[in-house]
Symmetry: C2
Subunit: 402 residues, 2 copies
């Protein structure tokens, strides 16, 4: 078993439960006989390059325990891609200097690419290093894993607020007839699709869902909204922020909307569609943009998701000590089981790196304006259970790593 | 004690806890020896005019109990103002027809005006009727009551998501430097102000808060944002949707922003300010529009608020049986007490009707970009405690009245 120090870093857009993965990794490292110092890198890979480390053995027990209930990347995150060879060399030099023999990177597609390249370089240079990727993203777009930690909590949050906004929309006889909710998800519709979990009966919200996987057609959209309006009286629509037309262009980029300074206005697809509905159907619309709430709502996290996030972190550290490297921890759903359950396995980083998993077309209905039952069956188990977070003075008692 | 039937109606924009007031009224009516039938009017006053009633004695116990945990107006609501004399006559005729002797109206300023006029007409026509208003609004803008049920829950929700978005913004080194959160509150800034509760230390979010009570000055705003950016590296700003300039005009209405069809675009103040920051300060912004989430987030309601909402409903029914009429139930905070506590009292409807209570200028700092400690001391008790709502299959188990 390789002995040495370890570094853990977090990267990309955070999730509600990303610190559960950090906690899983840290607690496994505490138990390890091989791992000496446990460094947390500030702001992902940038913190390693800058030798900006947090000593995770010297945090108070209450801070470490609080990671379980705290959203956001507690170590800090970044959107920085190593590109130049000298960056990789520098990284390896820092590893040598600190005798870092274990590198755990909690992130999405880009981060898995970085981890893959670091592992490759270490092999080439004969530096004995174990590199394991720990998946996270609310977008759920990592391949080779049934789903990605962070997704279940974002899905639960979105479905809940859509349910609540649906109750609000339906109960009041007012001028607003159509509500458009713009969900995160630039290239894959997993999160927007999860809003369908809010529906208990056919007439419930969301009435329509549009995803980037199906080219958006304005005429069809207006027809759909008009028909839903006739049927239900009010309409709630959920759209992914990254809807594209048949040529693959973002649909809100092809408007000529300009602001007071003459700049093209990227107001987002939600506002664009509300304007369209008001102009073309003369129905008053309202749009809702939960934005980063979706990836930080620890107050409504899924317990299933939080637990799985913990385990992918734990498994990463345990497997690395069995000399596994160049891998990402993946979640495998047990097929044919009566109740949902999953196991953890390792998949090769280069199979994951830079690849996006989109919604299968068969999980979207033929009209391209809703999901199918197969998707619901897939997503429902991921939002089960609640996390009882501590409150102090009326608000969540989140912690800081200092 | 006047004997007869009663009708309860809900009006205006709902809140997370408006059904707690319904529950309080219904349970008090169950205990009454004077009240016979308990009618719920569908969609406020419109349901009375249309004789569209729900029999609240014949709802299942689980539905009635579920009101405690369900947002939105369970009876349905409306934004319909009685104006014509014939509407009032019609209303009184319905009351006569159904022998309705008690009228409880759960609503805001407009609804209190309606209740006042109905009471006045009944007196003039010698129809023995008891009319009591039950306050609700997330805007907290009703006069003569320390605060309004619904506000505490909206405040708790907004402060929590601002805290969570602040963690998200701070943890990731990315291009977004400024986040603008647009809070509800057209003419009064109470809700936006409550975001300040999220702040535990001086450097915490929100860094800046702008309210309709202080005329908005673009140059000052840009200076404030720039200074906060220099100090904190990232800036989170909360604004009321109804910000006005020194002439009292909504600030986002004086732009010349047009959509693809040449219509003036009412994208809201949040988007307008993000565009301004990007153009003038070259800082990348993001805007967040929680919209109706703020008035329907039962999943994060304040227990204090939910309990008070229940009691204003209960007190309304109890006081009506003591021959009080033409009043609204108000909340009075006990002065000088060590711990927050309050009592309920009746105030005259005509003193409340059509009047708005704005934030006192002394609870806003001199620069007009934050609140003072006096406001924090006022608002903090209102968000205390959580409501443990039941979950089913991963989502809140809200009920419907059918």
């Amino acid at each position: 078993m390789l002995k040495g120090n370890c570094v853990i870093a977090q990267s990309g857009g955070p999730t509600a439960v990303i610190n559960n993965s950090l906690l899983g990794a840290v607690e496994a490292a505490y138990r390890s006989e091989a791992i000496g110092e446990i460094y947390g890198a500030r702001n992902g890979i940038m913190g390693i390059l800058a030798e900006n480390f947090i000593d995770l053995r010297r945090q108070s027990p209450s801070t470490i325990k609080g990671l379980k209930f705290t959203p956001g990347a507690a170590l800090g995150s970044c959107r920085y891609q190593l590109k130049k060879q000298e960056d990789f060399e520098k990284l390896l030099n820092v590893f040598r200097k600190y005798n870092i023999r274990y590198f755990f990177y909690i992130g999405g597609n880009d981060s898995m690419d970085t981890a893959y390249k670091v592992n490759k370089l270490a092999l080439e240079e004969g530096y004995d290093l174990r590199v394991i990727g720990i998946p996270k993203t609310i977008d759920n777009d990592l391949p080779l894993t049934d789903h990605t930690p962070g997704y279940g909590s974002a899905a639960k949050y979105l479905a809940t607020i859509v349910m609540e906004m649906g109750i609000d929309l339906k109960c009041i006889v007012t001028s607003t007839k159509v509500v458009i909710v713009e969900a995160m998800g630039r290239n894959a519709g997993w999160l927007a699709a999860a809003a369908a979990l809010a529906r208990r009966r056919q007439e419930d919200v969301p009435h329509l869902i549009y995803l980037p996987e199906v080219p958006f057609d304005t005429a069809n959209f207006l027809n759909d909204v008009e028909e839903a309006y006739r049927r239900y009286g009010t309409v709630l629509v959920v759209v992914s922020e990254g809807l594209v037309d048949k040529n693959g262009n973002y649909i809100f980029n092809d408007t000529t909307t300009v602001d007071v300074f003459g700049h093209q206005r990227l107001g987002g697809v939600g506002q664009y569609l509300v304007n369209l509905i008001e102009s073309e159907l003369s129905l008053k619309g309202r749009f809702v943009l939960p934005a980063t709430c979706q990836r930080s709502a620890m107050h409504l996290a899924s317990r299933t998701d939080a637990e799985e996030a913990y385990h992918v972190g734990r498994v990463a550290v345990e497997e690395a000590q069995k000399d596994r490297t160049g891998c990402m921890v993946a979640i495998r759903r047990l097929e044919g089981a009566e109740e949902y359950s999953c196991t953890y396995e390792l998949v090769a980083l280069n199979e994951v790196a830079n690849r996006e998993k989109k919604m299968p077309r068969s999980w979207i209905n033929e009209a391209g304006n809703d999901v199918t039952q197969a998707f619901i069956n897939y997503a429902r188990p991921l939002i089960q259970g609640e996390v009882a977070i501590p409150y102090h003075n009326g608000l969540p008692a989140y912690v800081d790593i200092v």
